[in-house]
Symmetry: C2
Subunit: 176 residues, 2 copies
């Protein structure tokens, strides 16, 4: 492999690393994914250590996180004790996986927070600050409606087993 090609590849890898940290993921995750993505076939943890410059520990944890997100997947080889991983090349599949992951974690908690607040407000005895209470209920209901819409969207996307450019184009038709 020529020096030119290697330079281009490294530049790309650095770009993915920055992007990773911008989106709130560890820098190392971006590096690891980029290395796997620009490599045909699977790589072992040791190979990832040498290619990324990260330590075994970092590679171990970040690789697991990437697999959890569905951005990479194990590619086991028989009669080999090593763990091999390959990049997921179907981005739409990865996106669905990421959405599903994030969905179950924190987004639901936010939705629940609003729901709970509303329920508590409804159960409040009528008192002097009825106007204030009504105002709060109104605002929270607006927020809940918005959350519900987002919720429906992400659920629809994650349920979709085929999401590709074709689907995107159809959506675009509506939005324009």
């Amino acid at each position: 492999m020529g020096p030119q090609l290697e330079t281009i590849r490294n530049h790309f890898i650095e770009g993915m690393s920055s992007m990773s940290q911008f989106w709130g993921f560890p820098r190392g995750m971006g590096t690891l994914f980029a290395v796997l993505f620009t490599h045909p076939g699977a790589l072992s943890l040791d190979e990832l250590v040498t290619r990324t410059g990260l330590t075994k520990g970092a590679v171990s944890t970040n690789v697991r996180a990437l697999a959890r997100l569905g951005l990479i997947h194990p590619a086991p080889r028989m009669a080999d004790r090593k763990d091999y991983y390959a990049a997921e090349t179907d981005f739409y599949k990865a996106i669905r996986s990421i959405l599903a992951e994030r969905h179950n974690s924190e987004f639901d908690r936010a939705v629940t927070t609003v729901k709970e607040a509303l329920r508590e407000l409804q159960g409040l005895p009528v008192s002097a600050d009825e106007a204030e209470r009504k105002f709060l209920v109104e605002r929270l209901q607006a927020m809940q409606a918005f959350f519900d819409a987002v919720d429906s969207l992400t659920r629809a996307v994650t349920r979709l087993d085929s999401l590709g450019i074709h689907t995107v184009q159809n959506v675009l038709k509506i939005l324009k």
Copy 2:
């Protein structure tokens, strides 16, 4: 205002703060927005200081950031030197604003990175590692296609001057 109502409101504010930091924004931003959102009418910086417990400096910078994102907006009062801010209650408007903001910052840089790498690869002289080069081009093109799709989507949304539940429902029809 009864103690009950105050408790519920505070609980909600804390929830928004957590959500804020989960999505990569400072905790204080979530606090400030929640305080404004649960208050009818506008608030001055000083009032925000007392209500959030943050210092003047933090309120100043975070409020500006929120305004930049379109999540709150100035609500000036004539014959008053103070700056007043109110929450943006139209979430879809806010979403469009946030998308536009993020779009111009880092997403474009990632897209450019891929584009550049591809251009450099195309301009490479044919050499021994032609197979490797072709492989890289293929992968990067796939990534570019995906980025283009996302790009089109966000652009479409940000251009939209009316995005509401109705539009979301239409999109849902396609996705199901």
